[in-house]
Each structure stands twice: as structure tokens, then as C-alpha cells.
């Protein structure tokens, strides 16, 4: 059988289809375009060398902190000491082999592109909705653009970051997508928000 790229199935796609593409824009939900996701963990004692290598390779300023940083098509979300989620826009299904090779000896790279379902939330009501779930101060002074957190929302482990002003992304383990969506839908309604999907 010839190799034939399969379309990846978005975990939130069936739910997003139920939303209208028009609305007041206070809560806009979408699934980010196909991207590679990997857990990157520094090898023992290689944190500084890893940051230097990543700066050279991807032009990114690595921060060993709960921060979202981005450069070009690469982004890093700090999830713990010496641990990040690496995001790569438009990556192929087997993309993770490349950073694994590039960072060999400095970091362990584990492909998680399918492991996480990512929901993007935009609009003035996004922070309110997220604050209903995460016990985190979402005030722009406390959780500004570039802030990230590993937290729990609706009893579901979540990694949360503010990508740009009033645009957040939440990564949860894929199998929870339906439960998480039910919570999003109920909580949006409870707070007077009518979610729309980005056109």
C-alpha cells in the first residue's frame, strides 16, 4: 500500500462544527491549525547548552519558567523545571524526529502531537471563562501575554497560556475533549457567553 498522508482528526472538530461562525465575538473558539507538539526535557546538566542550541536553531529565547515564548514557527511553553511543550506550526506527523536529532544529547524529545487536544479561546469573555475553571488570577497584570500555567480545569489537567492579547490556548489530554467541551459549553452559557467558531 502506497504511503498516503492521512488527515489528522481534530479532537474538538465535531464540537466546533456545532457553533455558528457569526456572533458578538466575545468568545471565539477554534482548534489551532495542525501543528506538532512535543514534550522537551533537558538532559541532566544541559539546560544552558540546550537554550544556546535552541536559540541557534530556532531563534527562540528559551525561558526556564512558566512562560509562552515564540519565534517564527516554533513556540515553547514552560511546564516545569527544564521541561517545555514545543509547538511547531504546520508540522508533518513524524516531525518530532527532527528536533530529537537536532537536540540529541541536550534534551529528550517526546512526540505529543496527538496526545494533547488544544483549544484556542479568543474574545473579551475568554479570560472570564478560563477563570471559572482555573484557580488562577487571569487579570492582565497577573496573567499577561506570554504567561503560562500548568493547572486543573473542571477536574482535567490543563496547560494554559496567553498567546497574544485576549487569545488563550488550553492543552488537555486528548481523551478528555468531550468532557472538557461540555464544561466549556455549560460554563459559557452560565456566564452569558455565546461561543462562536472562527470563520
Amino acid at each position: 500500500m502506497a504511503d498516503l498522508f492521512l488527515p489528522a482528526e481534530g479532537a474538538f472538530a465535531p464540537f466546533l462544527e456545532t457553533l455558528s461562525p457569526s456572533g458578538n465575538g466575545r468568545l471565539v473558539l477554534s482548534e489551532p491549525p495542525a501543528r506538532g507538539i512535543a514534550t522537551v526535557m533537558a538532559r541532566a546538566g544541559q539546560g544552558a547548552a540546550l537554550a544556546t542550541r535552541m536559540k541557534a536553531l530556532y531563534g527562540i529565547d528559551v525561558e526556564d519558567a512558566a512562560r509562552f515564548v515564540t519565534a517564527g514557527d516554533v513556540a515553547l511553553v514552560g511546564t516545569g523545571p527544564g521541561a517545555w511543550l514545543m509547538l511547531r506550526e504546520g508540522a508533518a506527523p513524524d516531525w518530532a524526529a527532527q528536533p530529537a536529532g537536532e537536540l540529541d544529547g541536550l534534551a529528550s524529545v517526546f512526540d505529543q502531537s496527538s496526545g494533547y487536544a488544544v483549544l484556542r479561546l479568543g474574545g473579551a469573555g475568554a479570560a472570564t471563562l478560563l477563570s471559572r475553571g482555573a484557580f488562577i488570577d487571569m487579570h492582565p497584570r497577573a496573567f499577561p501575554v506570554g504567561a503560562a500555567a500548568v493547572t486543573v480545569m473542571s477536574h482535567i489537567g490543563a496547560i494554559l497560556w496567553q498567546r497574544e492579547a485576549a487569545v488563550y490556548e488550553v492543552a488537555i489530554f486528548r481523551s478528555y475533549a468531550a468532557s472538557f467541551w461540555h464544561w466549556i459549553a455549560a460554563t459559557a452559557a452560565a456566564n452569558g457567553l455565546t461561543p462562536m467558531r472562527s470563520a
Binding site: 482528526e9 506527523p93 512526540d111 496527538s114 477536574h155 475533549a177 464544561w183 455549560a186
Partner: protein, 981 residues
Amino acid sequence: MSRLAAGGLIDRSQPLRFRFDGRDYGGFAGDTLASALIANDVRLVGRSFKYHRPRGLLTAGAEEPNALVTLRAGARAEPNSRATTIELYDGLEAKSQNRWPSLGFDLMAVNGLMSPLFVAGFYYKTFMWPAALWEKLYEPLIRRAAGLGALSGAPDPDHYDKAHGFCDLLVIGAGPAGLAAALAAGRAGARVFLLEQENELGGRLLSERHEIDGRPGHLWAREVADELSALPEVTILRRTTAFGVYDDRSYGAIERVADHLAEPLPGQPRQRLWKIVAKRTILAAGAIERPILFGGNDRPGVMMASAVQSYVNRFAAVPGRRIALFTTSDSGWQVAADLRAAGVEVAALIDPREGAAPMALPDVPLFAGGTVTSTHGRILRSIGVRAAGGRVTRIAADVLAMAGGWNPAMGIGCNLGSRPIWSEAIHSFVLKAPPPGMALAGAAAGRFSLAETIGDGLREGMAAAADMGHEGHAPPMPRTSDDKAGVAAPWHVPGGRGKAFVDFQHDVTDSDIALSVREGFRSVEHLKRYTTLGMATDQGKTSQVNAHALLAMYSGKAIVEAGTVLSRPPYLPVAIGAFAGHHRDADFRPVRLTAGHGWAVEQGARFVDAGQWKRAQWFARPGETGWLETVSREARAVRSGVGLCDVSTLGKIELSGADAGVLLDRLYINNFSTLKVGRARYGVMLREDGIVMDDGTTTRLAEDRYFLTTTTANAARVMQHIDYCRQILWPELDVQAVSVTEQWAQYAVAGPLSRRLLQYLLPDLDLSNEAFPFMAAAETRWRGVPMRIFRLSFSGELAYELGVPAAYGDALVRALMEAGRPLDATPYGTEALGVLRIEKGHAAGNELNGQTTAADLGFGGMMSTKKDYIGRVMAARPGLTDPDRPVLIGIRPVDRVSRLAGGAHLLPTGVPDIAAHDEGHVTSVAFSPMMDGWIGLALLRRGRERIGEHVRAVDLLRGTDVEVEICSPVFVDPEGVRLRG
């Protein structure tokens, strides 16, 4: 109608209809149910808890002990709702409680005649013998006679929301002190949360006739509220009660989002539970007026003076035509003045304080130094008054307003253990050492005059903002009208006629407290438990201080010595539903669905919960008569053809790093550093105490990379264990680990035809025994997607597991079914999986039960003697190596046709069924299609030495007793020929 023609803060342009105890009434927007009942001359609203005494409204606030009603009907019926806090809405329906057959005629009122029986502690003194009748007879009888409203029994149709709040300053209460504090801090730029239990801000300003800057106080409150609403950093939560103070400056609050509506709007929650973290808090919850203790003080028509003032001033609802005042506080005089201003006749003002005259009250008969000694009428008609000289007169009055002084409402300030202390200045308890970050302001701090209140708020608000780095100019202190705040100590009129009630809701009287003291229950905590004082739904808000004053008096102590109790959260009852929030029914806990879930649904799967996962249990086909037929078909298909099973839920952990093999050697009883790349090995890990923790296969993907699997149940625990080991025990090791359970959708393809099926799907791959033997593993690609292939077998058949990234899992299982169509590939679920593993004697959750050692399960030979590993030392303890321990064996019925029961105990033949003869138990049973009969796995004492012996499997719960033969746990293919086929 007792509605004044004009005035009040009600909206007369919005008339509302409502129904109470089956009768229709009218009210206005802005009314509470209580004020609307007063405006309609309804004076009897409830029956007391124990004696079923008729009761009327006592207060106008959340502290109300009497007017508990069942609000709404059907599934939304809410018992024990306080009429004083229910906002009136059109179509409201409420019923009184604790009466039968009706409120006016309550047969249970006979309890009152038997009151000598029902004194304090009667639970402990009565019904002592025979004790056996307590549960079946006494308690149900008591519960029926004494009680509150009943739940509907129907599921709550509403939704509850949860929210988190963070602020510099939390202000609890939006009376004059709270408004001033929020204004000062808000103008300075601080993030402020202002909580008010009512919809209207203003607190007592709404009920009193005070002036601020020459205008009515409620207009000032509205202006401040408007300004606060416009400040971007200020959040006002109306209809919100702070109910508890918790550690780390966190607070619980309940927002009643839709309780003022007949039912919530679509999507709207009924209530929202707030968890608020506040760097600073100002408790400005005001004060609660305390009753005066005299005989007959619970008669309908006897009310708090502040309540009368609220009803008249705020709601323009006059509770009586001739109102008498019994006051030990200057505030009572102000009520008399307000009544006169509203044109209401004041029958008398009785003030036991000699010479008290805070203001002139022309045309009000004054009884300085007098007391009220009795009340008369089913609903109050007259009172007995003893004048200073001792002469007793009857005075006609249909309402007696009592003003016994004010108790600061500091309840939640004591939640963390701060103890209130007695203040001689205000004759009540105050909180001098509130919890960290909290300050009190205004009446809650025991400073009652309006000027003090606003001054407190401004000062504390500025201080809190400055603490948080927000400097600003204090708002100017407004001009306020002068109010007198003189007050006497809690007042008791001894020797009056009738019972003097202290706790109105729990029917505790002054004589109950005297009895408690006589019987030796003299500490406030003992008094509380002996009399149940303060333990009703109102938590003693009107009774606690009076009771402790009586306790002090009866025991000859000063009240400062008697002390008072601490309050626990919640300050007011909070619905359990609010704590559950979204998480009820189908959303009780999150559900995890595998990538192939939709496919399994299409295949007619029935699902079983495996932790949070939904796993396909079996796939019934049309015409099958029961699960056993389905499961047997699925198991047979694996033994004779090929079956497909979704095994994605098993835990998967990837380890990488130079020392990954070293860590695995320490985690498992056997070795993994010696494993070849491209090979898998079964492993067992122990807990530190030597008991088996988990098992699974580990594959070496590269020199420095391993892929480990766990049981579904232990996936999170093993991940946690590995992180603990690499981060805490051996941080010097270079090893990184992460859960990849969710990354890979994995399917078992099992059965003699499994290789053929895979060749259809992956024609370029050499799957021969030589190229890809048992326990081989490979990484490949399938349609451009990474794929992992493992030759593993749980069923004992030739079998493989295929993994692809979960986004392609649905595509893979469909492709496998398609490729397997010519082979009649059969999906099988967890039940068939269980049958297959029992036939092969593989231990699973039932055997890895937290009590078994590796040796018990037959893995003793795997325990390395050449290295150290977690659990090695403790596994060598005598108790864990005792040859008498129960070990894993197989059983089958001697008659071959009997059914086995899991959980049955194993006993020798010919002995009584008593625990002393117990030799083990049956852990797993299955109907084996291969053996054509029931088989089981069991843990039996010295079992391996007893193969061939007969014992009995006795199940006293199911009433079965089956003679079984002890055999090897491996029933099918003990040589493993099929496995390597």
C-alpha cells in the same frame, strides 16, 4: 392592606402576584416575601421546631429564625428558605412548614402541652429503654414531630456555576462602612471585590431615615454604587454572601444568580460558588439586633425593632396598627420616632434603663424603668407592662418591637479560631484579633453610629489600598445626621408569664439554660450541645449572646468569663449543588474516550468504566441471547481466528536519557538495561514495602529510550512513582520520563490469523518468526504516519499490538477491520480479554490487589539477586516469604458443570464453614469456551504444592458451595506453542 400610601423603596409601578399557603396576594417589585406578607396582614408564618408554637416574622434579614418557608413547588421546591431574604417575583409560590394539617391548626402543637417532657437534653433522658427501639421507633417519631421542611425528592433541574476571584481588597457588606471602604480603595486604584447579600447596596441606610450630606442615606448609597460600578478594577457581587474564611486568605461566597426569578433563564446557573483570594479583607457585615428575654416573647406580633423599622421605612409595609416598643437601646427610640413620622400609632415605649431619654418623643407614653412582663392573644393583642413603681398595666398593642442592643455580625471572622472578647462599651462581643489580612469596620467592629461607620470604612479602605501600593486621597468625610448608640447589657425579665425564648428556631428557653447549668453543663460548648442552642439553620444569630449572658448569670459568673462559641462555615446554609457545580450526573467526573470510541459505538459496543475511561466490554450481535454468549464467541474468535481489541487505555510512559536503563533496573524486579533494542520484556515492579505495585511490558526503542506500559488502573500512579524516583530519590541520574498514554492509540490483533491480517495491512513488513519473533518491536510508517508494532500477547495466542498517534487511531482501527474482513476479524471487549487471560493464568487487577508479592503470583524466579531494586529488602521479610502464604493457582469444578463465584473462600472438604478454616479465596472466574466449563484463579495457602487436591469454594453471600480441583493456573497451551506460532 397595611401598605402605606406613599414612601418606601418599592416600585409601585411594578405590581407582582404571589401565593402563600394556597392563597393569592399582591406585592411590588422591591418587596421581600416577608414585607409583602406584612403588607397583606399575614402574621402567622411558621411553626416552631420542637413545640410547634405559632410564629410570626421576627426580623427583616438573613438572621430570621422563624419565617422558614418552602419556596417554589415541584423539583425546584426549596425548604427552609427565609421569607425575609426571598425577593418577591411575579408568580412566587411558597408554603409554610412543620405543621399538619394547616398552619392555623397544627395537631402537633400538642408537643407544646407536653413541653415539660421536651426540656433540654430530653433526647438523652427519654427513650433510654429498650435501646433497640431507638433506630426503628424513637428516632423516626422524633424526626416526624420535630422538623423543618422536606426536600422534593426530585433531581435538582438547575445548573450551578463556579468562579474564582482575586483581589487586593475584599469588602464584605455594602452598608455605609463597606461602601465607604470600597470607594476609598477603588478610587485609589486597588482591585476591589464588594460583596452584598442583597440586590440593593446600602445596608441599614435602606431601612433608616439617616441623612448624609443633607439627603436621605439611600441616595448616597446609590451614588456610591454608581461610581463603584464605573471603576474598572471594582467588581460588585450582589446577592452574594461570604460564608466562610479559609486558609491563605481565601474566602467562600455564594452568589444567588437566579434565585430572584421564577426559574433561571436558559443557560443561566441558579447559583455561583465563588472562591476568592484577597490580600486584604474588610468585614463590614453590620450588626444583628438581639431580642429581649421575657415571657411570651415568641408570640406572633413580637418583632425586632429594627425589623419594624425596615418594613415601615423601606417597604412601606406596617406590621401593626398600634405598635409598642420595648427597648434597652437608643436605636429603639429612633424606631418610635420613625413610626410616628410614618403616621403609625405608638402604644408605649418601655425602656428599663432608668432616666434614658436620648430624644424627645411627644405623644408617646413612656415607661422609663419599666419592663414587659407578659404578652397576650393568639396573635398579639396586648402586653403586660410593669412600670418603674411596680404597678402592672395591660396595654393594647398588636405589635411589640423589641430592641435589646446590637451584636456585631463578625461570624466568619471567627472561622479560623479568632476568639471574640466581651466589650463593656457596647455590651456585646467584638473581634479584636481577626485572621491575617482582615480588618473590621463599622457596626461589625462594634462602632454603630453612622459617622463612625463611614469614617471606619474610609480609613480601612485607604489603609488596605496603601498596603497594596495604591496611594490616593481619601474621599472627603460626608456630613451625617447624629444618631445615638447608647445600649444596656442583654436584658432578661425574670418571673414573667410564659416561656421566654432565647433560641426561637430550636425552641430553647431561659429555663432550659437554667436547667443546663443546674445539671452541670456550664461551659458554652456544653450548653450548646446539651440544649442544641444555636445549632439550627440560623446558627444562633439572634440567640447566642443572650444565651451566654444567661449562662453567666445562672452560674454566677461575669459574661466575660463565660465567653462565647466560635462559628464554623458556612455562615448561612449553602446548597450541596453549589459545591458540586457542573460535576453531577453524566458530568460527575470527567470521562476519557479512546480514539476508537466512535468506531466501537458503531460496532454496538457496551461500555464499562475503567477509572475515567470508557472501555468496550463486549460487542453483542443480533440474535445473541446474553452477554455470556457474546463473550464466548469473541473469545473463541481469538483462539481460532483473529480478534481486535482497543488497548489504548493501558498506561504508556516513555523514558529517555543516558541512565534510563539504570532507573528501570531499580524500578523493576528484573533487568532492563540488558534488553536489546527492538525487544520487549515483561516486568514486575514492587512498592517500597515489597508488595507488587504494577506489571507490564517495556520495550527498548533505542539505546537511550524505553517505552513502558502499565495497567490501566495504575497509569497515573506509576508515572508519579517514576517522577518521584528520578526527581527525589536519584536526581543524579540522567533520565527524562513523560506519559505518552494519550499520544498513542493502540490495538491488539490476536489469534492464529493475526499475522495474515497484518500482512494485508503492511505488505512490505517481514513478520515471520525469524524476522519478528515473540517480544519483538519495530517502528515503521503506515500511510505516512509513525507506527509502532509489538509482538506481545495477553491472550496467549499469536498476537501483535499496533500503535499510531491518536489522531489516526480511528483510521487505523477501521483499516484493521477492513483488512480483516476476509478473515472474519472480530472485535472483542474487556470481558473476552478477561476470559483469555484467565485461561492463560495471567495475573491482573484482581490478583495485583495490594496484598500479593511477586512470589505469590509466581514471579519469584524473576526477582534478581544480582542488583538492588525498590521493594527488594522488604520483600524478604519473614511474613512475605512465609511458605504458608496463599499463592496463585487455578481451580475448576470437580463436576465440570458447576458455576464458580469470584470472592468465594477456599476451605478444606469436610470442615465447618468458619473463618478458622479459611485457606484462601477465588480472585477471578470465567466461563472458558476452550475448557467448556467454568475455571478460576485463586490465592490458596501452599497452593502450588497441592495441585490435584480437592477443596471447596464456599460463597456464603451467594449461598454456593462447590467442590473444586486445584490445578495449574495456565489452562490453555501451557507450553506456549500458540504464542510463538
